[in-house]
């Protein structure tokens, strides 16, 4: 990796006095061609694009992202399509960071060496594997590091101080703070409690902290943006797809509109 786009991104946001907007879509949802349009539309609005790798058994996801994985797999999306979509985003939006997100078995099946090489070649900046905690890093850390990929780790309300230290040492790029004890798309908790947790993490780590899981409205995003370095919107963006399943133009338009509203929300506040 010639540049550290993730570090540049957070520096830029800090200078502009705002939080980074992180947006998630599942690759290949609802099909590869439409997914390309959707990802490019979103990449133009967000600072960091999380591209989900579809998996048959998405254990940490709520119904919205589960359905996205099922649509993508039914459409026959393969891991090579995921890399091709990432490469397309990378060449079209060179300033947008790309994070591949998913479950361990897909990269494990390919082999983490092979996976990391292909991801790096596609212009991916970081990788977030939900079910590989720091303790199990032996399966992937070396390959990711060798290919200049950030290893993004999750922290949650149940993470002890010891675990926060452990994750802070093993993570790079940024820390993804899961704002609630639950699955993606659940109801967001009290902003004040989330802020307190973010401050707790800051006492152990100098990495930027993005907050996700449950952020659905522009008001929530604006509130989170007052104390977090980044706001992650996942299920809310993905939910635009089934709403407009028969009209792809409307789907892209709705996604752009939602993303713009979120972008304004995280910009409004001065950190």
């Amino acid at each position: 990796m010639s540049r550290d786009r993730i570090a540049e991104c957070f520096a830029r946001c800090r200078n502009e006095g705002r939080s980074a907007l992180v947006g998630y879509l599942t690759a290949g949802d609802p099909d590869v061609a439409t997914s390309e349009e959707l990802l490019l539309a979103l990449a133009g609005k967000v600072d960091i694009l999380e591209i989900g790798m579809p998996f048959s058994d998405p254990m940490a996801d709520g119904p919205v992202i589960q359905a996205a994985s099922e649509r993508a797999l039914e459409a026959g999306v393969l891991i090579r399509d995921v890399f091709a979509l990432a490469a397309k985003v990378n060449s079209t939006c060179p300033d947008t960071c790309i994070v591949l997100m998913g479950y361990a078995n897909v990269p494990y099946a390919l082999g983490f060496e092979n996976f990391s090489e292909q991801a790096a070649r596609a212009g991916v900046d970081g990788v977030l594997i939900v079910d590989i905690p720091p303790e199990e890093g032996a399966v992937c850390d070396h390959a990711l590091r060798k290919n200049g990929l950030h290893r993004i780790l999750l922290l949650s309300p149940t993470s002890s101080d010891t675990r926060i230290k452990l994750a802070s040492d093993a993570a790079s790029g940024f820390i993804y703070y899961v704002s609630l004890t639950g699955i993606t798309g659940a109801e967001m908790g009290e902003a004040a409690a989330i802020e307190q947790q973010v401050e707790r993490i800051r006492s152990f780590s100098s990495l930027p902290i993005c907050v996700g899981f449950g952020v659905k409205t522009a008001e929530q995003a604006a509130k989170v943006a007052t104390f977090a370095d980044g706001v992650v919107i996942g299920s809310h963006f993905v939910s635009q797809i089934p709403l407009h399943c028969n009209d792809h133009n409307a789907m892209v338009t709705a996604l752009k509109k939602t993303a713009s509203a979120m972008r304004d929300a995280v910009r409004k506040v001065a950190v």
């Binding site: 254990m59 479950y103 078995n105 099946a109 079910d131 675990r163 004890t181 699955i183």
Partner: protein, 410 residues
């Protein structure tokens, strides 16, 4: 007093992060790492506590009906014409299968941890019934996740769970079978870990589950070992158990690991390994990561988990306990596979020769055990785990054997 045959030593432990060789571990979402660590600590602490075991063995004896008998199947042995076949009668336990050994243990642990609610996943419904049973006894709220397809295939067990006061939640996601029920239970637990105990039904899942479930089931093999010595004056030559996730197999085989006994795990070959419609993860799968552990999985080239098939719902799972994967790679375990038809044949054979109707899961172990015994001498012994009784399988067997039993009208 706990009988001295029940050793409380934890032999062949995993490493500190729950790895058995290169398998196992704790591949879980961050939110679950704290609760898993707390569970591990509670388990080790309870295991060191004499009163925990006194309660556990009191229930195993007076509620479950342990020790279960070891039965010399003389008629079957004669019919096979090889080694002497001995059956470990887990089918005679309360609720009709070995599963309750584990739910008693985890139920006591849940109580000790002050949890008011338990959840479980179930395939055939045996683990669900065993969980609902202890929840009723301990006065805990109980929610059981079960694939929609399985709730239809195993309707009587769904009713049993409801009678016991459990709430059965049908799962429609994914393939609507056992693996999806497990996903849904994990999703529940991520949100409810504060007050809820997740009772996993097999030796899979993130650490400490594979270790914990094994330790709650080793009573099977410990009893069988002592009973073999008492009845035959020696250890068995071969010990055989069926494997879905592997709980009855680890329970029977683990106490024989340091002995000169051939250990055989039997997987469900469904319509045949070459058909692709089976549940033989060790025989036909490859290492991967699912449900919190690294183990053998049935998956496609892309790492997507594949659908499985077995006539026995309890073996219908695309993974297997990580310790069994490690034992297989270490050469401690022999592997055999049995098709649906072979299992049905063994089901009929045991029913007619001994008057014992086995579960279809256990019929896989029987089919393999009979095959192995046939090639041995009459002074040798084969020990087979009869992990459950066949009452729950009447509908499935009725569909397959009705014409043969009643006489075909054709």
């Amino acid at each position: 007093m706990i009988d001295s045959i029940y050793s409380l030593d934890i032999s062949h432990p995993p490493d500190i992060n729950g790895h058995f060789g290169r398998f196992g571990g704790r591949f879980a979402a961050e939110t679950l790492m704290g609760p898993l660590k707390a569970l591990e600590e509670a388990f080790y602490e309870a295991w060191k506590d004499e009163t925990f075991h006194q309660k556990r063995f009191h229930l195993l004896k007076n509620y479950v009906g342990r020790a279960t008998p070891l039965y010399h199947a003389e008629h079957l042995s004669k019919e096979v014409g090889g080694a002497q076949i001995y059956l470990k009668r887990e089918d005679l336990t309360h609720t009709g299968a070995h599963k309750i050994n584990n739910t008693i243990g985890q139920g006591l642990l849940a109580q000790r941890m002050g949890k008011k609610r338990v959840i479980a996943e179930t395939g055939a419904g045996q683990h669900g019934v065993a969980t609902a049973t202890v929840a009723a006894m301990f006065g805990m709220q109980c929610d059981v996740y079960m694939g929609r397809e399985d709730t239809e295939r195993q309707a009587p067990n769904v009713f049993r769970m409801k009678l016991l006061g459990a709430n059965v939640i049908p799962v429609d996601s994914g393939s609507a079978t056992l693996k999806d029920a497990l996903n849904e239970a994990l999703r529940d637990w991520v949100a409810s870990c504060e007050d809820t105990f997740y009772i996993i039904g097999t030796v899979a899942g993130p650490h400490p589950y594979p270790l914990m479930v094994r330790q709650f089931h080793v009573v099977i093999g410990q009893e069988a070992r002592a009973q073999c010595l008492a009845q035959t004056g020696k250890l068995p030559d071969v010990a055989v158990a069926c494997v879905g996730g592997g709980s009855n197999a680890m329970g029977l085989l683990h106490p024989f690991r340091d002995d000169d006994v051939r250990l055989v795990a039997v997987e469900a070959a469904g319509h045949g390994l070459e058909s692709g419609e089976h549940a033989a993860s060790l025989a036909a799968g490859r290492p991967g990561i699912l449900h919190g552990n690294l183990t053998y999985l049935l998956e496609n080239d892309e790492g997507q988990i594949q659908g499985t098939h077995s006539i026995s719902a309890g073996l219908d799972y695309p993974g297997v306990g990580p310790e069994l994967a490690a034992m297989l790679e270490d050469g401690q375990l022999d592997l055999d596979t049995v098709t649906d038809s072979e299992a049905l044949e063994a089901f009929k054979t045991l029913t007619r020769s001994e008057g014992i109707i086995p579960a279809l899961e256990s019929s896989h172990a029987l089919a393999s055990g009979i095959r192995i015994a046939a090639g041995m001498n009459p002074d040798q012994t084969v020990l087979i785990n009869l992990s459950g009784r066949g009452d729950k399988d009447m509908n499935t067997v009725f569909d397959r054997l009705h014409d043969e039993i009643e006489g075909s009208k054709a």
